[in-house]
Amino acid sequence: MRPPVMDADSAPFWKGCDEGRLMGQSCEGCGTFRWPPREYCPSCHSHSSRWSGLGGTGQIVGLVVVERAPMPGFDAPLPLPIVHVELDGTGGKMVLQANLRSDGKAAIGDRVRTEFTDAEGAQRLPVFVLQKS
């Protein structure tokens, strides 16, 4: 799978991942979380923002499981669950897409926490893990 493309807007997020921290950007004007990260707030158009560490817990709001390589060169191990997770403490604004590390069945509404991949020399990525109820 292709590594993330880092740009001026996204760099703090990916640097956080490398340090094992899930970072979120919120607006200093109105407090709204911005996702994906960007210079100007879509709500109040303020240019000021702050980055802070998030707890990394949240709830699955959408999911698919890739069972067959959708195109030539798709090299991820299958089946590959991809989940959308609404992160706690972000006012429902930050819904992060990532893979789910799971050997069981996941469903919409399940609670997850965030870990990070740890491949030698590669950008670390967030990965979700089901929380035990």
Binding site: M1, R38, V64
Partner: protein
């Protein structure tokens, strides 16, 4: 929103297509030229009368550029060259762009076309879907590189909210296959049962193989003219009663709504019907974008054709068959006819609304309405056509 004076001012005067296949063995320019010449002749025009071009693609530029088509068709002039990069989401807005140029008096006859060898010769590109600051950096690293991974999470959320499962998708796939079997240009002609659907392999859950759009080579084209110019045609006049385009936001998070499955369709449909001066009860046929069964069913609900969570049941009960309340995807759609990013949906609506009706079903002579050979709907007057997510939409009308 457009001024009401746009209403019915423009018409779709000609339609054409090439054969649809898995490997055309021809260039996209040849395919597009065939479809264009057919559409121009169908409109009763000469190629030299075309003075504007619109094409559409998603990601990779796999359709011939307008400049190529100016050369291929030998056009003496071209006053509009528009490439719509929204793909199937904006199929209807590509038609709208053509109509706006005609309505503004800039062009007289605009050709909307798409020709591509999607499976047999995809364009070589390391990064086909690149947009600066787009949402792909947030999906690609996790293997979300396919439309099913882009829309699937929203479909899964909608299924969860309404207690639906994949088996609820079967009846739509089966119905559209039955429609395709009455369509000579449709690629998928083999009969399909609910069992066939349920036994087809998982591709990307919640979708099985028979939930997915075809991926094919081919071309389709249509001509947009002023309604005045189209009058006197043997086909009657099929007008553009209303048109809208424009997404309400990238689908990283749902479309600015309180839930996780409301698409742009819900807001667009309200405005589209108001612009057309109609209500859902006036719609006779609907050609709704169907990249996957589940997305098509969400479109049915969010365009107001069925209550929330009830589209699959309504399909199973026959409400959307050729003789149902509203005939849905009567060509077979992307699931069973073929995929030209939504142009096929527009062309099917035009065929159904024309004086002579569809010309590529199995009827010999006049339409019999015998569903073993005829796919013509009984005297439809108003058609809804929608692009993916309801990011664009058209109301087409048969002029009385």
């Amino acid at each position: 929103m457009s001024e009401p004076r746009f209403r019915d001012a423009c018409a779709i005067s000609g339609i054409g297509w090439s054969a649809l296949s898995k490997a055309s063995g021809r260039t996209p320019a040849a395919l597009a030229t065939e479809a264009a010449l057919a559409a121009i002749a169908d409109a009763g025009l000469e190629p030299a009368e075309i003075d504007g071009l619109v094409t559409l693609f998603w990601g990779a530029r796999d359709t011939p550029a307008p400049s190529e088509m100016v050369a291929a068709l030998g056009l003496p002039r071209c006053r509009l060259s528009h490439c719509d990069a929204g793909g199937g989401a904006w199929a209807c807005s590509a038609v709208m762009a053509a109509a706006l140029a005609v309505h503004a008096g800039i062009c007289r006859h605009v050709l909307v076309y798409r020709g591509a060898n999607m499976p047999s010769a995809p364009p070589p590109s390391a990064d086909p879907d690149y947009w600066p600051s787009g949402q792909r950096p947030w999906s690609e690293p996790f293997g979300a590189v396919h439309a099913a991974t882009l829309y699937g999470p929203h479909v899964a959320a909608w299924m969860h909210a309404h207690g639906l499962s994949n088996s609820d998708f079967a009846d739509l796939a089966v119905m559209q296959r039955a429609h395709a079997r009455l369509n000579r240009k449709a690629m998928m002609q083999a009969p399909m049962s609910v069992d066939d659907h349920q036994q087809s392999p998982w591709i990307i859950r919640p979708f099985r193989l028979l939930d997915c759009s075809i991926f094919n080579d081919g071309a389709m084209a249509l001509v947009v003219s002023a309604s005045d110019a189209a009058r006197g045609s043997k086909h009657g006049v099929v007008t553009i009663r209303a048109a809208l385009g424009g997404s309400s936001g990238a689908p990283v998070r749902a479309w600015g709504s309180g839930d996780y499955w409301t698409l742009n369709a819900e807001a667009l449909s309200r405005e589209l019907y108001a612009q057309a001066g109609i209500s859902v009860a006036d719609i006779d046929i609907a050609q709704l974008y169907d990249p996957f069964t589940g997305m098509a069913l969400m479109h049915v609900e969010q365009f107001g054709l069925a209550a929330a969570g009830q589209a699959a049941r309504a399909v199973a009960e026959g409400e959307f068959g050729l003789d149902g309340r509203i005939a849905l995807n009567s060509s077979g759609g992307h699931l069973s006819e073929g995929n030209l990013a939504g142009l096929g949906h527009v062309i099917e609506a035009v065929q159904q609304l024309r004086a002579g009706g569809v010309r590529d079903d199995l009827c010999d002579g006049a339409h019999s309405f015998d569903r073993s050979c005829c796919r013509q709907v009984r005297s439809p007057h108003i058609a809804l056509v929608a692009g993916e997510c309801g990011d664009s939409g058209l109301i087409l009308a048969r002029e009385a």
